[in-house]
């Protein structure tokens, strides 16, 4: 899921300067889990903004905020409230914020910072495991991604910077390559590390903005 954190309230207020009436848009999926855009957070931010003198025309929690059809469908139900608002405040990831703009045609302000594609370790603890590089190497690295879990994203083994198996960037973080090494040893596949020829990233696989279109018969459109 997309991990988000709420922007500072002062930053949110600054973005709303000169605007009086605001409509809030939450997200029932990622942002709900991150506690940045679920029903509770929408209610809490709504109250805080009212205390700061804003008029909250209404709110909706989309399921999810990043789906254009869902956003359009829900916004139709709130058309008048949205129309009378100066702007929308998106309590979602940046994808959701842009979809809210496309679906409403209104000015949309982000209430959150989008941080990373995260896994959920336990309640409230999110970690980045995948960088969506478009060229998965997990099969040869013991199921641990070097692009993401090595701070430098090195593909051919560790740098010389780790101390006591911790990363030079943050002594709280395990060295990704030490993790890969231990896992490969554990599953008897260290040989794959030795035999793999040098790897180079292919950044042409992730030229932005990316898109992908499925066809109706479930194949991929060429």
């Amino acid at each position: 899921m997309i991990i988000t954190k709420q922007r500072l309230f002062s930053e949110i207020l600054d973005s709303l300067v000169g605007e009086k009436t605001v409509f809030l848009v939450g997200c029932g999926e990622c942002a709900t889990v991150c506690q940045t855009g679920g029903e509770d957070e929408v209610k809490a931010l709504s109250e805080r903004l009212q205390q700061a003198g804003k008029i909250i025309s209404g709110s909706v929690v989309l399921e999810p905020a990043c789906n254009l059809l869902e956003a359009k469908r829900q916004f139709r139900k709130y058309r008048d409230l949205i129309e009378q608002s100066d702007s929308l405040l998106a309590m979602s990831c940046g994808g959701g914020a842009q979809i809210a703009q496309e679906a409403s045609g209104k000015i949309v302000h982000p209430a959150n910072e989008s941080l990373f594609l995260g896994t959920v370790k336990r309640f409230g603890q999110f970690e980045e495991y995948c960088s969506m590089c478009g060229d998965c190497v997990l099969d040869t690295t013991g199921g641990i991604c070097p692009i993401t879990r090595c701070s430098k994203g090195l593909l051919n083994g560790p740098c010389g910077g780790s101390q006591a198996e911790k990363c030079e960037v943050d002594s709280e973080k395990d060295c990704g390559w030490v993790m890969i090494y231990k896992r490969l040893k554990e599953i008897g596949k260290l040989a794959s590390l030795i035999s793999t020829s040098e790897r180079l990233r292919d950044h042409s696989r992730t030229v932005k903005p990316a898109n992908r279109q499925l066809t109706r018969d479930k194949g991929v459109k060429k």
Partner: protein, 289 residues
């Protein structure tokens, strides 16, 4: 063939030192430091924005050293430049007469003075070595033919105290396969650790130049232990520095003692004097180097 390459190939004990380019363009002090090394070392490494701190470029500094008749080792990291810029800099280096190149991955960006900068790491130390070798073969990384090809003396770094050592050995093996012709190591303080390391890399048949950092104080030793990966100054040495009447004399004694203990295990020493270049001749005198 460079002087360093000649020394190593003839089995002469190689001596290299290191200078850091200034932050700015005033190279007076750096060139003064380098003067102390003239005629005493085979080559002088020039660091590449070490610790991710922005400085005068390594390549330009290498050329300045060359102009005053000192052989440089061009340190090149993959932190700040992508594969296009790195290949171009390698070609530029050769065109300017620089042949010794030490290929490094580089420290992470957030450790330096521009922590908001974009970390590149498009290549790493291994792929940088193989790219350099590919240029020597007359082709760029994309397979395009070059008009005239460079000839380098390629080095890589190793950390004798790295744990788990097997993981580093895997990487060093790849560095050798990628084209490393010599290793310069992280600072050595424990001859036993170094001896074990040499035993583990002897099959690579690549000359090893042992790193020596001149300690300036006990505090510096503690700093190295805490902050520099793979460096471990043993307690007795720290105590020795603490009790030193004359820090320079004691520092040189310690370095000379370590070098004597490991001299027969390696093919040279790399002295990192961090501004104490003026004391390097005394160390070399003590060692009759």
């Amino acid at each position: 063939m460079t002087a360093l390459q000649q020394a190593l190939s003839k089995g002469e004990f190689a001596v290299t030192a290191e200078v850091a380019p200034p932050k700015g363009i005033d190279v007076t002090e750096m060139l003064e430091h380098v003067e102390h090394l003239r005629g005493r070392v085979h080559a002088v490494n020039v660091t590449d924005q070490q610790s991710s701190v922005m400085r005068l470029g390594s390549l330009a500094t290498c050329v300045l050293l060359k102009q005053v008749g000192i052989e440089p080792v061009f340190q090149l990291t993959t932190r700040d430049r992508n594969r296009i810029a790195l290949q171009s800099d390698l070609l530029s280096a050769y065109a300017l007469g620089i042949e010794n190149v030490l290929c490094l991955t580089g420290d992470y960006i957030t450790l330096g003075d521009h922590p908001q900068a974009k970390p590149v790491f498009d290549l790493d130390s291994i792929t940088l070595l193989s790219v350099a070798r590919r240029l020597q073969d007359g082709y760029d990384l994309a397979g395009n033919k070059l008009e005239g090809s460079p000839r380098f003396h390629l080095g890589a770094v190793a950390t004798p105290g790295y744990e788990p050592i097997d993981l580093q050995l895997l990487k060093l093996k790849k560095k050798v396969e990628a084209g490393a012709q010599f290793f310069q190591t992280q600072a050595v303080y424990d001859p036993a650790v170094f001896a074990r390391f040499i035993d583990q890399v002897k099959d690579f048949k690549v000359p090893v130049i042992a790193g020596i950092i001149l300690l300036k104080s006990a505090g510096m030793a503690a700093f190295l232990n805490k902050n520099i990966a793979g460096v471990n100054v043993p307690d007795p040495i720290i105590t020795e520095m603490k009790g030193a009447k004359d820090k320079v004399t004691t520092s040189i004694e310690i370095a000379a003692r370590i070098i004597r203990a490991i001299k027969d295990l390696c093919q040279g020493v790399h002295i990192m004097s961090l501004g104490w270049e003026r004391h390097v001749p005394a160390l070399l005198d003590a060692l009759r180097l």
